[in-house]
């Protein structure tokens, strides 16, 4: 019985156990339980990634039954990357949350419940990244959705409830559509295991419709424009640690499944129009999200719309992926680097925004002038996250943009490069609007009394990691090469 051998299972089980213990332990002990769980999960995630790098992709059969009867977990580089990202951001969010909830009224939030829900969501996310069949995806995505909705509404305020209802609606609508798609697919191909599906898939109407519905559902869950309607309010109304987790991790979960479906399950040339449509919508998301971020008057909404924009980049990979092996490798690596960079930077940005809100007691941008002098570390964190959003070196955002532009130019589809460049400039516009307000010289008399912000170094750590991500790109590149997608395409690491 080797621990290393059972890593995939442990990654799912550990947070689940943590969630149960936290539920039982009560609100004083729960934070410690969560911290211990998070730390353990980081260790497991790193070990898991190391194993995938060493051995390449492998399948883990729960209970040793195997597909099609049992549940198979697929361990590859892509999964490992997202799991490591989840564990790192998750750990930081956990630490932040322990301070965040301690400094607020203990009765206002159902914060004993927070830890349980949060660890439960973590479990579902890990399961989502590891699962190898489309039905389990449905299960995990439902669990993620429900726990996320609960987390959004945990404060119980009217805004949060309204946003939570909207989120719940979107989540349910997506889940139902997805399930419909799975049913159609199963009717056509007779399997739900992804590997089996990719072998059995024939271009008939039933299968194609099923897949299209699944993709549509996931697009809704990922909040790609125009299906982004639920995201800004949900992310903005949630408590700060939840916002960070939602923006940094949860949307990546459904995106991860889109990657699996579009690149692994579907053979080359399947649903060509869908790939183009996703690319176009990605471009639209970049523009529309950025423009909206530019005109927002509340800091969290600005950050949330920035997420809408940044999600757009992730979808540019699909049209590019059709241009042969080399471009696929470039584009997929680019998308993965972007997802990682955005996860770190957006997590840090939401935490920093939360710190600012705590500091000022409100979230109105116009009244945050001069924050730089009061909370320099938070301001710096905001600025650093801007570096990644804009795609400036040496951030991960830059590396991603570089790879995607290279892919676009190599494939000859140069217009995606234009989108990428314009997107970077738009991001610069909204991020610097934010930074400019923070560093503006505020008249002394309107400066509010200082409130202690204890956890201000955490966002800085996350955003600094995002800014220095360029130096970790070789690692991400190796992980991408160890993904089932690139392995089956014949790319050697």
């Amino acid at each position: 019985m080797n621990v290393v051998h059972h890593l995939p299972a442990l990654l799912v089980i550990t947070p689940l156990v943590g969630a149960c213990v936290a539920f039982v332990a009560g609100r004083r002990v729960a934070p410690h339980v969560a911290l211990a769980t998070a730390t353990a999960d980081v260790v497991l995630a790193v070990l898991f990634a190391a194993r995938v790098l060493a051995e390449g992709p492998f399948r883990y059969r729960i209970g040793g039954w195997g597909a099609p009867m049992g549940i198979d977990l697929v361990a590859d580089g892509m999964a490992a990357l997202f799991i490591v990202l989840t564990s790192i951001v998750g750990l930081v969010v956990t630490v932040y949350a322990s301070g965040y909830f301690r400094s607020t009224d203990p009765t206002a939030y159902g914060h004993g419940l927070f830890w349980t829900l949060w660890l439960f969501m973590w479990t579902s996310l890990n399961g989502l990244f590891l699962t190898g069949d489309v039905f389990n995806v449905y299960v995990c995505i439902e669990l993620v959705g429900i726990s996320a909705v609960a987390l959004v509404t945990i404060s119980g305020g009217p805004d949060a409830l309204r946003a939570g209802m909207r989120y719940l609606f979107a989540s349910m609508l997506g889940a139902m559509t997805y399930l419909l798609g799975v049913a159609l697919l199963y009717a056509s191909a007779g399997a739900v295991d992804m590997a089996t599906l990719s072998e059995r898939l024939v271009p008939d109407t039933t299968a194609a419709t099923g897949l299209a519905l699944m993709v549509a559902a996931l697009v809704l869950k990922t909040a790609l424009v125009p299906a982004h309607f639920w995201l800004p309010t949900a992310h903005a109304s949630a408590p700060t640690p939840v916002s960070a987790a939602l923006s940094a991790l949860v949307v990546k979960g459904s995106y991860f499944v889109v990657l699996r479906l579009m690149l692994d399950v579907m053979p080359d040339g399947y649903l060509p129009g869908a790939a183009t449509l996703l690319g176009v919508l990605g471009a639209a998301a970049i523009v529309w999200g950025s423009v909206q971020a530019l005109v927002q008057t509340r800091i969290k909404l600005l950050v949330a719309y920035s997420t809408v924009a940044q999600i757009g980049y992730l979808f540019l990979v699909f049209p590019l992926a059709r241009n042969g092996r080399d471009v696929l490798a470039l584009a997929l690596t680019g998308a993965l680097v972007h997802a990682t960079a955005h996860g770190l930077a957006k997590g840090g940005l939401f935490l920093a925004a939360g710190g600012l809100i705590t500091r000022f007691g409100h979230d109105r941008l116009a009244e945050m002038r001069g924050a730089a002098r009061a909370v320099p570390v938070l301001t710096f964190a905001v600025a650093l996250s801007g570096v990644t959003m804009m795609g400036l070196p040496p951030s991960g955002g830059f590396a991603a943009k570089w790879l995607l532009i290279s892919a676009a130019l190599t494939s000859g589809e140069w217009w995606w490069a234009v989108v990428l460049v314009v997107g970077g400039l738009l991001a610069a516009a909204y991020m610097f609007r934010l930074v400019a307000i923070l560093i503006a010289d505020a008249p002394a008399e309107t400066a509010p009394a200082p409130k202690p912000v204890r956890t201000e170094w955490l966002p800085l750590a996350l955003t600094a990691a995002a800014v220095l991500l360029l130096f970790a790109v070789p690692l991400i590149s190796d992980l991408a090469a160890a993904s089932t997608t690139l392995q089956s395409a014949g790319v050697t690491p």
């Binding site: 909207r166 609606f169 979107a170 609508l173 559509t177 109407t205 194609a208 419709t209 897949l211 299209a212 519905l213 993709v215 549509a216 559902a217 697009v219 809704l220 125009p226 299906a227 982004h228 309607f229 639920w230 800004p232 309010t233 649903l271 060509p272 129009g273 869908a274 183009t276 449509l277 919508l281 423009v291 909206q292 530019l294 005109v295 927002q296 008057t297 941008l365 116009a366 002038r369 609007r433 400019a436 307000i437 503006a440």
Partner: protein, 516 residues
């Protein structure tokens, strides 16, 4: 490539040759005398201000004679010309400042042109030595360009029309001592540049013709302008411009015909010596007259007659020698233009004579300033210069004064040298009789004539242009106002109905694309 790099102090080279000796003599004498003169006539408190500009100018002005490579030549050229601005503006009057500004502008442009020419020539020659530069120019493809640049630069220095105002401007406002240095030495650096840099005997004929005509035009035009001005020193300035026109004729003579080069160079040297000393003596004399009264004043006016007559080219004066050298140079050429120039040369002397008469009239009108108790020292210095004016050209050990020495006793030559002065006297008498007609013209021009007018025009044009406003201030909070419509669109997008509809449309689109 090495020699093309200016290596700073260590690589500047200086040489003493047949060209540098007369110029070293001329510049040395003039800068020394004017320096001493400034020292004794300037009140103690003002000395520091004057000499802060005077000394660098003098150092540049003297060493330029010795410069043997492009860098040191340019360095000395600039060192002399730029601080002179401080001398011109030393009076602190608005006119003086304006004159200084115009002077500086023209000087800087002239220097820029010179630098351009030097750089071109240095590349062609692959070195920096002046003699190499000139030799290399003979066969170079950029010969015409370099020569054009050089001539333009020299023209600005010596006040060739239409830039003739630069000389009266630089004379009129500086204190007498520095002004005499500028009068004697400044434009002569231009003459030195002609000798050192202009290609000799290799240019096409028409170049020579154009240059000579430009010189001739200036000789007449500057004289005409000078007669209309109202300060003695401005008159002297125009006279210099007119005389330097003659030097330009001499330079033009040597451009095309190799045979005429020695004569042309001789004429330039002769004219420089003659005119430098005489003009310097005139400026100082003008100041002496202003400082004296009674008999001393009459004596001073009499003393002034010597350099004045010399400029007109009267027999037995240095001007007589210089004119002969010039005539020899032009005479040696064939062609219609040189012939025309040759026959018109004596008439230029009429203009000069007119200028000198005008100068005398104005000087004699000088209101006397309180006699300086120490006027003996200035007078002695002036006397020294006068002696040199009388002697130098005749005694100079060279060949260019031989012809004049032979002609001293030739009555025809004497008559040729005298009649322009007589004509000028006659014309003056006529003018004085019909004063009413000319009264309006009297003093029609400020020193600097068209240059001042030009400067006024530039200023007026500048004032008419809309001035640049500081960039519009945009506050950081303009976003929401500007974005209100966008926010509205987004609000509609995220309503339940719209959102659901959009999602269904998206799903349908995907399905349609998938099953097509």
């Amino acid at each position: 490539m090495t020699p093309l790099l200016p290596t700073g102090g260590g690589s500047l080279s200086f040489a003493l040759d047949s060209v540098s000796v007369p110029y070293l003599f001329l510049f040395g004498v003039i800068w020394t005398v004017s320096g001493l003169y400034s020292f004794v006539t300037t009140p103690r408190g003002a000395r520091r201000r004057i000499f802060a500009y005077y000394l660098p100018s003098a150092i540049g002005g003297v060493t330029v004679a010795l410069a043997a490579d492009a860098i040191s030549f340019y360095l000395c050229f600039a060192l002399m010309a730029l601080p002179a601005w401080g001398l011109i503006t030393a009076g602190g009057t608005p006119e003086g400042r304006r004159a200084g500004a115009i002077y500086l502008t023209l000087t800087v442009i002239g220097e820029a042109l010179l630098l351009a020419a030097l750089a071109l020539m240095a590349v062609e020659a692959g070195g920096l030595r002046l003699d190499m530069l000139v030799t290399a120019m003979a066969t170079s493809p950029v010969r015409d360009l370099a020569t054009g640049l050089l001539l333009a630069s020299i023209a600005l220095k010596i006040g060739t029309l239409p830039a003739s105002g630069i000389l009266p401007l630089s004379y009129a406002y500086a204190p007498a001592g520095p002004a005499s240095a500028l009068a004697g030495a400044s434009a002569k650096v231009g003459a030195l540049a002609m000798l050192r840099l202009l290609p000799a005997g290799v240019m096409p004929e028409n170049w020579a013709a154009v240059v000579m005509l430009a010189g001739l035009t200036t000789a007449f035009g500057a004289a005409a302008l000078g007669i209309l001005t109202t300060t003695p020193r401005a008159v002297l300035g125009y006279s210099s411009a007119s005389q330097m026109g003659l030097v330009l004729i001499a330079a033009g003579a040597g451009l095309a015909d190799p045979a005429a080069v020695p004569l042309s160079h001789a004429a330039i040297i002769a004219f420089s010596l003659h005119h430098g000393l005489a003009k310097s003596a005139l400026v100082l004399g003008d100041d002496i007259v202003a400082r004296t009264a009674g008999r001393a004043r009459s004596l001073a006016l009499a003393g002034l007659a010597l350099p004045a007559l010399a400029l007109v080219g009267a027999p037995l004066t240095s001007g007589f020698v210089a004119k002969y050298a010039l005539k020899d140079a032009v005479y040696a050429l064939s062609g219609s233009v040189p012939h025309a120039v040759y026959s018109l040369l004596p008439w230029a002397a009429v203009g000069t004579a007119g200028l000198m008469i005008r100068f005398f009239i104005l000087t004699a009108r000088h209101a006397q300033v309180a006699p300086d108790t120490r006027h003996r020292a200035p007078a002695a210095l002036w006397g020294g210069i006068l002696v040199l004016v009388a002697v130098t050209c005749w005694a100079w050990p060279a060949t260019w004064n031989h012809h004049a020495i032979e002609a001293v006793l030739d009555p025809r030559a004497l008559l040729t040298a005298t009649w322009p002065a007589l004509v000028a006297l006659g014309l003056t008498a006529v003018v004085r009789q019909t004063r009413g007609v000319f009264a309006r013209l009297d003093g029609a021009l400020a020193p600097g004539d068209i240059l001042v007018t030009g400067a006024r025009l530039v200023r007026a044009a500048n004032a008419a242009l809309p001035s640049r406003k500081p960039s519009e201030r945009v506050t950081a909070e303009t976003g929401p106002q500007a974005g209100r419509p966008l926010l509205g669109v987004e609000e509609r997008l995220v309503t339940w109905v719209t959102a659901s509809t959009l999602f269904v449309l998206l799903a349908v689109a995907l399905v349609l694309l998938a099953t097509r």
